[in-house]
Symmetry: C2
């Protein structure tokens, strides 16, 4: 029988009524003659609440205990969804990550899946049941509870879909799919009926928050067809599929913006080997998540290095740089939280070299200054002032005829 | 090294501050040179909240899913307590019931412990750690999460104390110990420094809610010394110990009252074999929890049978009886929720036959009418009107010189 994996995020199971709506949808899918495996996140803000509680209790959160704590939210939603399914006459069984056979390494709070022993899930399917699996969690090779990192319920779903040979992994969320731009700021943005994995990865990396980056990578590597859909409207969503050479590729598929980053600039650094290495090692040691890095051309033997980091990590980044600035020979470090990153993404860009020019011309026509530029084969990103980003996104969406 | 098992109930770990206070106490015990195993309940009303949520979601709660749901609260408190201990420099590891090796039968929501495989707990102790175990739960022989029934965190503690050979199992709660009467209604009630298991079992059965009955039985059968103590004042509590022939036994140790019961009377039942059997089988089939049963002497070939049940089960009991009253040949069934049960308990009663007389005389002098009487070797219980029970308790406490 055809198998579908359906994953429901925190807002999709946010309260009793939402859980019943999800149960109803799962029951319909089951009755349409398909086998269904469900993966759920914790209800609404449960995980955030638990983390807040942990901080109230202690300034120290050993990773093993952190995982024991935050993995409890998904147990609650699996059990509740099974109860709602029982009321609809659908036999269902909840499974923790451990019971579902999600075996991980021992890297608590950010564990990697090393094996999936889905025997119990397969048994439940063979018994005609709907297995409901707690997302985001597994059991380590040391038999401890682990979690796979924030947003990793998507990963649980994709991994199970891969190992069970599902025909599709449906990711249900609070948006109806992947859009050509954020509809909140670009009113004529439209839902994409399909994007390639390559584009999806760039969209996720550029700040489009629909799908967890790691899950999209896993799905691509294991050839799992994905569909991102809404659990509020249930309308068809966006398919994320392998690139098909025969299909005509849009030059630009989406405009993505991200206002969660800040820019750090280290000025007057000597332009000699090893300086950048020392700088970014210092940041890595503080677990600072560096995104774009731009080094300007050397002027009189010194250079400026700029990079972006999440705004929540500005203090750590500045501290990390400041500690080494003497030894690096730099003249100063500044931070700027008033920036935004704006990206245009499209698989067709590879064979259409004019996109960069169009992007810069469009921004110039709007009088918007570009601070930093970075590119990949299918993406061009600019750092602009935060106050300009919405206007810039609308202009680019228009310029690339995405409406 | 001497080992202590310390169990903390829901109010003891009710919020972040309480959890830190518990951690501080555990740390002190550890630093006094003892090995400590901790068992915790879910925080405050967590379990009640989860049950309410389940009812909002579905009218059907399959027992396996119920257990998956309600067992999550203890995971949270174990992890939080380990974090608080880490802040105090005490190495601790949380364990679910399953990880602690609490193996049960498959009777979900009320599972029996069939084995304790405490290998991981012993390893943690040998590594110098404080194992913090989720109470109330285990793993079934089918590898599913089970729970041991309400209040069964005590049982987890006692069972671990037995298997690990602990020198004492300390049950921390929101009262300072077992009292000669409820101090809220008998102002000069005093805390008992020790009671025998036999007395404790009668006190628990008579409505004294300090310790779960099943846990007290388990502790007696496995010779686990228990101490009931307060996690708010930390003062020495009440020891529950095996009866020692050499120790002088108080004739009456405690006066216990219980206003949670109602009386059901089945009138005019033919006095012939099998009638009572059919009646109580009908009640058992409806899971009605029958407490005292009194059958009056036969008058003209018929008799009245009275029994008490929890007030929450009156409707079910009356229904169960009514369905069979024709076949039983009874003339009617009545219920009375305005009653209270009053018991005097004391191991010394066995060798002092005058206690019953003193009890009845005391109540008579207060003008309090006795409805039903039941006795064991160390307990005498009367059913009186609910409005008389506090006055009766004070009078008996005085008469038996318990102040």
């Amino acid at each position: 029988m055809a198998l579908v994996v359906q994953k429901f995020g925190g807002t999709s199971v946010g309260d009793a009524e939402r859980i019943r709506a999800v149960a109803d949808h799962v029951a319909r899918t089951r009755r349409s003659g398909k086998d269904v495996v469900v993966v759920v996140s914790a209800m609404g803000k449960t995980t955030d609440d638990l983390i807040r509680l942990a901080r109230e209790v202690s300034s120290v959160q050993p990773p093993r205990e952190y995982d024991m704590l935050v993995s409890s939210g998904e147990r609650i939603s699996t059990a509740l969804l099974c109860m709602a399914l029982a009321e609809l006459g659908v036999a269902a069984s909840s499974f923790t990550g451990s019971q579902a056979g999600i075996v991980t390494d021992t890297d608590h709070t950010n564990a990697k899946i090393v094996d999936i022993r889905a025997g119990r899930i397969i048994e439940a399917l063979e018994a005609g049941k709907v297995p409901v699996v707690a997302g985001f969690q597994g059991v380590s090779t040391e038999h401890d509870v682990t979690t796979l990192g924030r947003g990793a319920s998507d990963l649980t779903a994709v991994a199970l879909a891969a190992v069970l040979g599902a025909e599709v992994c449906e990711i249900y969320t609070d948006v109806t799919g992947v859009f050509s731009a954020d509809p909140r700021i670009v009113p004529d943005a439209h839902k994409l009926s399909r994007v390639s994995f390559e584009e999806m990865l760039e969209i996720a990396a550029a700040g489009g928050r629909v799908l967890q980056l790691r899950s999209a990578e896993f799905a691509r590597n294991h050839h799992v067809p994905l569909q991102v859909r809404s659990s509020f409207t249930w309308e068809p969503g966006t398919w994320i599929v392998e690139e098909d050479e025969s299909m005509e590729q849009a030059i630009v598929t989406a405009v993505v913006h991200d206002v969660s980053q800040a820019k750090i600039t280290v000025a007057g650094v000597p332009d000699r080997p090893g300086v950048a290495a020392r700088l970014f090692r210092a940041l890595a040691d503080r677990a600072v998540n560096v995104d774009d890095i731009v080094q300007n051309a050397s002027v009189r033997g010194t250079t400026d290095i700029s990079f972006t980091v999440p705004r929540t990590q500005v203090a750590a980044a500045v501290e990390g740089v400041s500690e080494h600035i003497g030894e690096l020979g730099g003249t100063g470090v500044t931070s700027d939280e008033g920036i935004a990153k704006l990206s245009v993404i499209g698989a067709g860009m590879k064979s259409h070299p004019g996109v960069t020019a169009t992007m810069f011309e469009t921004l110039a026509a709007e009088g918007i200054n570009i601070d930093l530029i970075s590119t990949s084969t299918i993406r061009i990103s600019c750092i602009v002032r935060e106050e300009d980003v919405e206007r810039a996104a609308r202009a680019l969406h228009r310029a690339f005829e995405l409406a």
